[in-house]
Amino acid sequence: MTEYLYEKDLRPMKYNILTAPRQDRTVRAMAARLGVRVQVFRRHLIERLDMSNLENMPARWEAALAIPAGDDALAAALGCDLFVRKIAVFTPAEMEAAYKKARTLADGGATLDAAVEEGKKALREVIAP
């Protein structure tokens, strides 16, 4: 967002929201799925999401997990929809780039696990460049 002259530093308040019990469980689950350290992931979330997003995150996460995965196993494993539309952890362009890398590997004969790992590696670079 555009910088305001009298902008407040929201990081401590956002951190308080993220360390509430339900948010903490959700953050840990997401960090484990992406294979990143919780502290690094928290920083990424604080930078990317506003306070209402952070408050709503556990509800969105639970609702998203209840929806059955689509036909594309690779997209489902990477969380293409989950981490972009449901919870905006990544921009569509960042996810698209990670998915393309994984898809290239999968089309080249690699196993699904190896392709997913390649995609996650690209996503981890976005979180901790």
Partner: protein
């Protein structure tokens, strides 16, 4: 990619149309809102942290202090969560009295929500009419529970006070009056051409977006999602309940859903009074330890309490998921995006009935 914006407009934290402080930052191109972001933290209470480690007898009073507008339902959901953990069932008369209190609370909340919207779109006459009716509702709540807000009416295994026949008669008469007046006011809103200009097709939340944002309550029901926790509640099922749903998804639909729900609440209270058997209002029981996720339908939508209590009924861990958490997110990231006039930002925000006290807990 850098966004092209003309002006970034902060609205709030103090705004004459808002009941509570919150700041919305809008990025605009001309009058068109490109995106919005919410900044809160002006009234954080930390009530979940205060609750931790305290016995349920103290937590029940804290629970209803999460929100002053819908305090009854916070009391009800926490008490019913403790009852679920402990296997306590309230007597039938108490169960119906709880419905009466809860519906009066819903009416008070819906009336102030619709008042706020009318006030925001500068229809102060209708707004004041609605606020006047709210006084009748709060008077009824006082007759039933002894208080207008923070009633502490429900306790594990029942309710505190019975309804006296004289009060029941007055409540029935007041409901008749409200029924007539609210029909008139709903018609005023429904047919007002200036109201339609400010409300129809403004702040649209589609069904898919509502599902994605996990919107709840009247906000979701105005977008065509038939979700209402009352459908699963045993007493409401006995009374007969089906949610009110509209498909437009705009400001107009959200206000009209609340008008229709006001009439529905009157019907539910009448049926509760008619079906209420004689008998005790307190069944007793001891609160035990355990863990539960319990949801109830607050005026603004699904209210969920995650409670973990020890064997003495002391709350070890608690998390409160209030409906405003979902609805404010749905409003900021979907309804406000694409609003064609800055003047509609406040009215769209108010149409989703945001409760900052609930959100900040």
């Amino acid at each position: 990619m850098k966004k092209t914006v003309d002006v970034a407009i902060p609205i709030g934290p103090v705004h004459p149309c808002w009941k509570e402080p919150v700041r919305i930052k809008c990025e605009t191109r001309g009058e068109h809102v490109l995106s919005a972001e919410v900044e809160m933290g002006y009234m954080k209470k930390g009530i979940e942290r205060i609750m931790r480690g305290r016995p349920w007898q103290e937590v029940m009073f804290l629970a209803e202090r999460v929100c002053g507008i819908c305090s009854v339902v916070h009391n009800m959901v926490f008490i019913e969560a403790m009852e679920t953990i402990s296997g306590i069932t309230p007597p039938p008369r108490a169960a119906y009295l709880r419905v009466v209190a809860n519906e009066l609370d819903r009416m008070a909340s819906h009336l102030i929500a619709n008042f706020s919207y009318c006030y925001t779109i500068e229809h102060e006459t209708l707004g004041m009419y609605l606020l006047n009716e709210r006084e009748h509702v709060l008077d009824m709540l006082e007759r039933l529970t002894g208080n207008r807000v923070n009633t502490a009416y429900m306790i594990p295994g029942g309710v505190r006070y019975d309804l006296r026949p004289a009060d029941e008669k007055i409540i029935r008469e007041t409901l008749d009056l409200l029924d007539t007046n609210l029909t008139r006011y709903a018609k005023m809103f429904e047919t007002g051409p200036m109201i339609a200009l400010r409300s129809k097709g403004v702040g649209i939340l589609t069904k898919d977006q509502a599902l994605e944002a996990h919107a709840v309550g009247p906000t979701a029901r105005a977008s065509g999602i038939a979700v209402d926790c009352r459908s699963n509640h045993p007493t409401y099922r006995a009374i007969g309940f089906s949610p009110i749903v509209r498909d437009e998804g705009d400001n107009y639909a959200r206000i009209m859903v609340r008008f229709e729900e006001l009439k529905q609440s009157i019907g539910l209270i009448r049926r509760s009074l008619a079906m209420m058997p004689d008998g005790p209002i307190r069944g007793g029981g001891i609160c035990k330890g355990g863990e539960v996720r319990y949801s109830g339908e607050a005026p603004r939508g699904e209210l969920t309490y995650f409670v973990k209590a020890d064997r003495y009924g002391r709350v070890e861990e608690i998390a409160i998921q209030t409906p405003s958490i979902m609805n404010i997110d749905a409003c900021t990231h979907y309804m406000l995006k694409g609003v064609t006039s800055i003047a509609d930002v406040t009215s769209t925000f108010i149409s989703s009935d945001p409760c900052i006290a609930c959100n900040e807990r």
